[in-house]
């Protein structure tokens, strides 16, 4: 549609500005809150401009954390979250690209059944199977470990399905040319399939990293040792302050810091991400 009417332009901008404000305002309030002292926020009026305590609040959270809530310093929780998010994202990509490779390029007995078994797990996210999964993880002695945090979240039907679709669009002649060129299955996978799915892998990595970083329920369940707290679950624990007001300024400082890594990943991988979603030429 190509139309050029000033009124429509203005309207479109108004709608967009309204949308941005709607999304950005809470983030702004969180940032503002993280630059004040605790009392400023309990006084009844919410300040709308940053206060003078930015450095003080942030350095306190990074160094010491909030002792009353039993959470470790933010730095350590960020590292835990980072390890979990990376393990989930990379693990999911490796497992799903290999299973998609098997399903698309190999004829083995019960191939379709295998595919549908993977597909059905779409209907069984962690939240649904949380009790049996917890039992399995506990029996394996994986509570309070990075393995326990990430492995149960790695199996992924969505990513397998996505790679299956990507592989199905690869022309058959490419496989045949590779066979004539003397490339065995794994060589074909490494030399041709992987480089050609590069952008899809990047796009998936962005989505999965954020998915892993934002995990909340599962880390809350399997970590009781504060050394393994992740940041998203940690925020919840801080806000649950026993005997006293939650230290909102510190909670907000933590929240703002928790936001940064996913934002960074999106910004850095934006180009590849968009390419991976829209590129069709093979």
């Amino acid at each position: 549609m190509i139309e050029n009417r000033p009124f429509l332009n203005i309207l479109a901008h108004l709608v967009l500005i309204f949308g941005v404000a709607l999304v950005a305002l809470p983030v702004w309030v969180a940032f503002v809150a993280s630059t004040h002292t605790a009392t400023d926020f309990s006084s009844g009026t919410i300040p709308m401009w940053p206060g003078p305590h930015l450095v003080e609040n942030y350095s306190r959270m990074l160094d010491a954390g909030v002792s009353t809530s039993g959470t470790p310093p933010v730095g350590q929780m960020m590292v835990n979250s980072l390890i979990m998010a990376l393990a989930i994202a990379i693990g999911k990509i490796i497992i799903s690209i290999l299973s998609a490779f098997a399903i698309v390029y190999f004829r083995f007995p019960l191939r379709n059944l295998a595919f549908w078994c993977i597909f059905v797990t779409l209907m069984l996210p962690v939240e649904v199977r949380i009790v049996p999964t917890f039992k399995v993880v506990a029996d394996l002695g994986l509570l309070n470990s990075y393995a326990g945090l990430s492995i149960p979240l790695i199996a992924s039907a969505t990513a397998t399905f996505l790679f299956r679709q990507v592989f199905l669009t690869m022309p058959d002649e490419l496989v045949e040319a590779a066979r004539i060129d003397g490339a065995g299955p794994m060589k074909f996978f490494r030399d041709i399939l992987l480089p050609l799915s590069r952008t899809n892998i990047a796009a998936l990595f962005v989505i999965l990293f954020i998915y892993g970083w934002n995990q909340y329920l599962w880390p809350l369940l399997v970590t009781t040792d504060s050394g393994y707290y992740t940041i998203v679950a940690g925020i919840k624990r801080m806000a649950d302050a026993v005997d006293g007001l939650p230290q909102w300024h510190l909670v907000m400082a933590t929240a703002v810091m928790a936001m940064l890594p996913p934002v960074l990943v999106v910004v850095l991988m934006q180009k590849l991400f968009v390419k991976g979603l829209v590129e069709t030429e093979k």
Partner: protein
């Protein structure tokens, strides 16, 4: 370099559909063989069976002296050029050419020598560091051929390599392929549905229909003595007229009560002729015109010089040696 021998080769798909039945063929070393037929006749399947991309259910395929039925495509010492080129999109032209040789652990200086040589032959030297997407269709086609040449294989297999090019480029590339094959003297098997391409390229033609060989012969043999009505209708443009002898009762030789084949270009205007054509349509081609009409109620086409005067009808005759006779039931050539 090697000969290729197909011995009672057949293919039945798991569902029971027969794709190829009983093909026998001896391809001499250095020969250019074209497999031609309408779509679905099994010509590509047959080529892919020689390449090793399709399994062979009956008979044997020999490349040189070796039966290759169970040999992996990479070990058959063949190179294939695909219709859509099948270049690796993420590799440069040079990497595309090198890939097969690297997998074979060819020494590095040998790879470099062969790539240079192929690039020289095909004049793609200046594109070696480009990606395929930055090349035009004709250039991609050359790279695809280059990938076959650097292998220095026993045989080239071409699967409709020119179908994705525009008409003008197709003619140029056709000449280049022919010239290339003449210089390299590599046994070649070429699949096409275009009878013009088949006629111009082939040392010998193999006309396929419904998975069976209708005729094998040099282009001229096939043109002059088509073995069946199918070949008669398929080779030659415009197609040969096939009419029952009842439609032309006065034509000498029409007494055998079968099918008569007459090429549109063999007919001459002759007031004393035995063929009476009622004109229904005229197509102007510039150098000549195609006159369509009815002879004894059956469709018939004649080519005429473009300056010939045309009325409502034409009286034509045909030299006896240009008359083809076919059996009505089997469609096979009589004589």
């Amino acid at each position: 370099m090697a000969s290729i021998t197909l011995d009672n080769v057949g293919k039945v798909y798991p569902g029971g559909t027969r794709a190829i039945g009983d093909v026998n063929m001896d391809i001499a070393d250095g020969e250019f063989i074209v497999l031609v037929g309408p779509s679905g006749c099994g010509k590509s399947t047959l080529l892919r069976m020689v390449a090793g991309l399709e399994s062979i259910t009956d008979g044997t395929v020999k490349i040189g002296d070796r039966v290759v039925n169970e040999v992996e495509p990479a070990d058959r010492d063949i190179a294939m050029v695909f219709q859509n080129y099948a270049l690796y999109p993420h590799m440069t032209v040079r990497q595309n050419l090198e890939y097969g040789l690297k997998n074979r652990r060819t020494p590095r200086d040998e790879i470099a020598r062969r790539v240079e040589e192929a690039a020289g032959i095909l004049q793609i030297g200046q594109y070696l560091d480009r990606k395929p997407r930055a090349l035009s269709g004709g250039q991609r086609q050359r790279v695809a051929m280059g990938r076959a040449i650097v292998r220095e294989p026993a045989a080239f297999l071409f699967d409709e390599p020119l179908s994705n090019l525009d008409a003008k480029l197709r003619v140029t590339m056709r000449l280049e392929i022919k010239d290339l094959q003449r210089r390299l003297r590599t046994t070649s098997l070429y699949v096409t549905h275009d009878q013009l391409e088949a006629m111009t390229l082939a040392d010998r033609l193999v006309v396929l229909n419904m998975g069976r060989v209708e005729q094998i012969g040099t282009p001229l043999e096939v043109y002059r003595k088509p073995a069946s009505t199918f070949v008669a209708g398929f080779i030659g443009s415009p197609a040969m007229n096939l009419i029952s002898s009842r439609a032309v009762p006065h034509l000498p030789g029409s007494a055998h009560a079968g099918l008569l084949g007459i090429r549109p270009e063999d007919l001459v205007v002759d007031p004393a002729g035995a063929i009476e054509l009622k004109i229904t349509a005229v197509e102007e081609l510039g150098a000549q015109r195609l006159v369509h009409g009815l002879v004894g109620g059956e469709d018939f086409t004649v080519t005429m010089p473009s300056d010939a005067a045309l009325g409502d009808s034409l009286t034509l005759s045909v030299p006896a040696q240009a008359l083809h006779r076919f059996d009505k039931e089997s469609g096979l050539r009589l004589d």
